[in-house]
Symmetry: C2
Subunit: 452 residues, 2 copies
């Protein structure tokens, strides 16, 4: 049974995809600064075309776009999105050029089409539909925060949210991303882990040395780094930094219940990533799900030293470095973790290992029993004709905590993605059928939110 | 007091440098296969032009040139050299193009000019001078082995020496490299450490994964590698592979005496490489010298995993690898070390860490009291008017052991190099004054060897 709003969204699909294709054709690679300025203008035009007042706020990095439109009811729904995209490389793995949006097999392919430009478009198309059904009026106030640094740790966003808390004030928030899982069930995510990203580096010499000359007597940066890393986590995955686990809140019975109801993805991981066995010997089940999101990590994201080419080169490397991310769970704090890391390295005799803090975000969660979350879930049930899958928290990170902390809003994460959308990978894509569903869901959330 | 041979060498310097410049203008980068074929032909021509019978032997890798000329006395002196050179990269650091030999400040600059084409030229110019002083006759038989894979571990040379032991039979051998030290004293090196070069690699997943998704539950190749490496050597530089030290022969009192007489290079190392302190807290002195050459190493030459670019990328790397070289001392054996490494990793629970053996050479030494060594040292004392610096063994490696083992020859290492010759580095150079001295020394060794 389709209502006029849903029908409107279906009938205007071609227009929405055409507008989204223009947005995706505009590169906006935050890590490389590519096309950011042009994309900001385009995004501001897109919201202004809907009668929103839009402002472009410069930051130390890329600008933040905010927008606002008044509606009938004095309640405000806030959308958080980002216009920046991941680098498209490796280009040779794309079947069509990343910034030439291409329709194929019911999907639109382009860098950023799912993460996150499809979501920007979906929110705007939902607003168009709701407005058309209300004689051109919005049923409630709507605000946007559309940032340009989500793919590079949103470093400038939390202070911006703090400073603009009054302008951004809202009653509820819909977050970027989300969609359906491997089982085609709509997902409703209720929190994000935090992150503390650091680079460890050691420099023992001013230049590389022939290993036959110096190997026995000169300090080796790669060894110093290896030994330092080995003090951070043991083979049983226990992080050895004193105090690392202190601030952790255990998941509640309600959390574990939500996890238990989530589908098992282990077969999909084996198929997609070749996972042969899970850490700690965990078998599929609630313990594995708990470990995935409620246990903090210490992940080596990269190692770099000396010669890495083909064959052998007998060199003693002058420098070595590692990229590490710690995914944090409530109530761990990235700045506290960096301080504990530094103290630990010093205590272990690694004062020569430099720690550069490349970015941090606090973990955050929304109450699963908040009425707004119930509303978002109800709309999912109606639109997707399937039971929403509630995740108490997801493994990834974002500037989620800043919105919770400075704006005191409940946050629902729902969107147009799917398990094979290839975000951050070549051939990123968005399914058109899920764009329709996700947009219908957003439209229904706006209407229902205004009604209650 | 200069004799006719020495005068001949001085007077023909321009011709020698012109011939050497032609040789250096011909690239012969073994690691890249660049110009090897042309260089082989050129080297064969150069020896044939001196009346040598030359043969070019194909191998699985680059060809080996052998050459032989008969002389008056039925004694044979063998020269070991190599025509291959290191890659010239990074090109931007060269002041003149690496394959455009350029005279500047009394030095000839070119890739390979010191390592090892200057030595090939020096041996040939010495032969010319000796022949001129002997009515065109050689005073003894002379043979050459000039290989093309010295810079890539000489993998095909030891079996070649074994198979051609009869054709290569000689009474003594002069090795490539050598020259004067930081103090301008001639060096006479009497052995080389061995080497066992391996690549350790781990692959846990078929592709990289978002660290937020997999960090808590998927195995991380970079962590597996880090933990495996940390079991190989402790912070006190003790290699932890069972049996690693078993085959080691302690240096003799004579060895320590030779070391004690060698000049202290620690200030030069600090200046050149920024060494702030030596491993194990060693201070300049005989213990540091002993550690440098008589203690085997386990050096990480390279580390490679995941993201190594600027800033942060939250990735769980599917693969990780490390390049490791073990410098070996008498009587360690590279194949034995690889077997012990594999057994150790298995015993430590790292059967998932793959070991690829990229090359090995056994350590080898020549008796410092062999009459031929005394002869070489005497000639140095006469030519350089300085006391030769005898090194019982050097930190580097080469196919030295194969010559000792299959040909039973004493081997002296002497040549035209200097401490700033930049072998393996940009702006490699050879000092013309040392070319003359080194060539005069080689000529005198040939004459004296034939006389005795």
């Amino acid at each position: 049974m389709s209502n006029p709003v849903d029908q409107y969204i279906e009938s205007r699909l071609d227009d929405s995809i055409a507008e989204l294709s223009r947005l995706c054709a505009q590169p906006s690679v935050s890590a490389q600064g590519l096309g950011v300025k042009e994309c900001v203008e385009l995004v501001a035009q897109m919201v202004r075309a809907r009668g929103f007042t839009a402002q472009v706020h410069p930051t130390r990095g890329h600008p933040i776009v905010t927008a606002e439109a008044k509606g009938k009811k004095n309640k405000t729904l806030l959308f958080y999105n980002h216009y920046d995209v991941q680098p498209p490389e490796p280009l040779e793995l794309w079947n069509s050029p990343p910034f030439t949006p291409t329709l194929r097999d019911g999907k639109l392919f382009a860098r950023g089409v799912s993460d996150d430009k499809g979501h920007i478009q979906s929110r705007l198309s939902a607003i168009d539909a709701v407005r058309a059904a209300n004689n051109g009026e919005l049923p409630c106030h709507i605000k946007f925060v559309i940032e340009g640094e989500e793919e590079i740790s949103s470093v400038n966003l939390p202070p911006f949210v703090e400073q603009h808390a009054r302008e951004l004030a809202a009653d509820a928030c819909i977050w970027e991303s989300g969609g359906v899982n491997f089982q085609e069930q709509p997902t409703l995510m209720l929190g994000m882990r935090g992150i503390c990203y650091v680079e460890l580096s050691v420099e023992c010499l001013t230049q590389d040395v022939h290993s036959g000359q110096g190997g026995s007597i000169f300090p080796n940066a790669a060894w110093r780094l290896t030994w330092a890393l080995a003090t951070l986590k043991d083979k049983n995955e226990r992080v050895l930094i004193p105090g690392f686990y202190d601030a952790i809140k255990s998941p509640t019975a309600r959390d574990l219940d939500m996890l238990a109801k989530l589908p098992d993805s282990s077969a999909d991981w084996t198929r997609m990533y070749g996972v042969k066995e899970f850490l700690k010997g965990l078998k599929p089940g609630v313990e594995l799900k708990r470990e995935q999101v409620f246990v903090p990590t210490c992940t080596i994201c990269g190692l770099n030293a000396g010669y890495q080419g083909k064959g052998s080169k007998t060199v003693l490397p002058a420098r070595a470095s590692a990229k590490i991310d710690f995914r944090l769970v409530p109530d761990q704090d990235p700045e506290d973790i960096v301080a504990k890391l530094r103290a630990h390295l010093d205590a272990q005799g690694f004062s020569d290992v430099r720690v550069d803090f490349l970015g941090g975000e606090k973990p955050g969660r929304t109450d699963p029993d908040h009425p707004f979350i119930k509303l978002v879930a109800d709309c999912m049930r109606e639109i997707y004709n399937a039971e929403p899958q509630l995740s108490p928290i997801v493994g990834g990170s974002g500037p989620y905590h800043a919105f919770l902390y400075y704006l005191h809003v409940p946050i629902g994460i729902s969107g147009v993605g799917h398990a094979g959308s290839g975000a951050h990978a070549p051939n990123e894509n968005m399914r058109l059928d899920l764009f329709v569903k996700g947009t219908q869901h957003t439209a229904r959330v706006i209407q229902r939110f205004a009604e209650r």
